[in-house]
């Protein structure tokens, strides 16, 4: 009788049975087999990382781009920008010591937007209280695992230029 009922049950109900006696036990061998499948998934993930790391980067801008004039960005000010052909948001900072820095505006933890806290020399990620050093991009505290990716900044006359990330890595 119970078997007939089981046969009539849709698959999703069989996967999540309501009654205790309808629960199908997973044998240890099946569990071990599942661990092997997870292990294979880890290998696939590692292979994907290798492929992405060594595959030639395409689509990343490599040129030199003018962002703004020096007089357009006061000390402690910031300016968001994107490079042509890329959707990655960047942030240009005018630090209190007079230097300019450009970083990716995505936190290396969970890609939240980061903001420069003027006067502190720190970049803040408000999502999980992550902090970066505005001068170097290094992590000061919080959950971010890596420094903020930086762009090379060049000053020429009154103009500020950045060099695309592909020029640096390629």
């Amino acid at each position: 009788m119970a078997t007939d009922q089981e046969q009539m049950m849709p698959d999703w109900q069989r996967d999540f049975p309501y009654r205790q006696e309808q629960a199908r036990l997973v044998s240890r061998r099946e569990f071990s087999r599942m661990l092997c499948l997870i292990s294979a998934a880890m290998v696939t993930g590692s292979a994907y990382v290798v492929a992405k790391a060594y595959w030639p980067r395409s689509g990343e801008p490599a040129g030199r781009y003018r962002i703004c004039g020096k007089d357009e960005l006061p000390v402690g000010g910031t300016r968001s920008f994107q490079l042509p052909g890329s959707s990655v948001p960047y942030i240009l900072l005018h630090l209190e010591d007079g230097t300019f820095r450009a970083y990716e505006q995505k936190c290396t933890h969970l890609s939240c937007a980061v903001f420069y806290k003027a006067g502190t020399g720190k970049i803040e990620c408000p999502c999980h209280n992550g902090w970066f050093d505005a001068a170097t991009g290094e992590v000061i505290q919080g959950p971010p695992p890596r420094p903020l990716p930086a762009l090379q900044v060049e000053e020429e006359g009154n103009d500020i230029f950045v060099i695309g990330p592909a020029a640096k890595t390629g």
């Binding site: 240890r28 061998r29 569990f31 071990s32 087999r33 661990l35 092997c36 997870i38 292990s39 294979a40 880890m42 290998v43 993930g45 590692s46 292979a47 990382v49 290798v50 992405k52 790391a53 060594y54 290396t108 695992p145 890596r146 420094p147 890595t169």
Partner: protein
Amino acid sequence: MSNFRNAQEQAHPNKNSTLTLAIIVVQLLLVTIQVWLLYSGLNNALEHKSAIAIPALVASIILFLVCCSLLYFLPGRRAGKKYSRR
């Protein structure tokens, strides 16, 4: 013929169960190491340090093979019955 194995089976009837459990614990450890390798490889690759990615992949493949061989040597359903049949 020696009846050592038969005597062992009778003296320790839960031996297969213990072995199975031990193998599963080892497999869990191997998968945990693989998760760590994937995490390290990915983190370093995102930091443009790709040198760690290939050794991590090779280690992960070796651990996967070990995991599969452990499954192969896992005591089967008929383990233990083989000797009591005599």
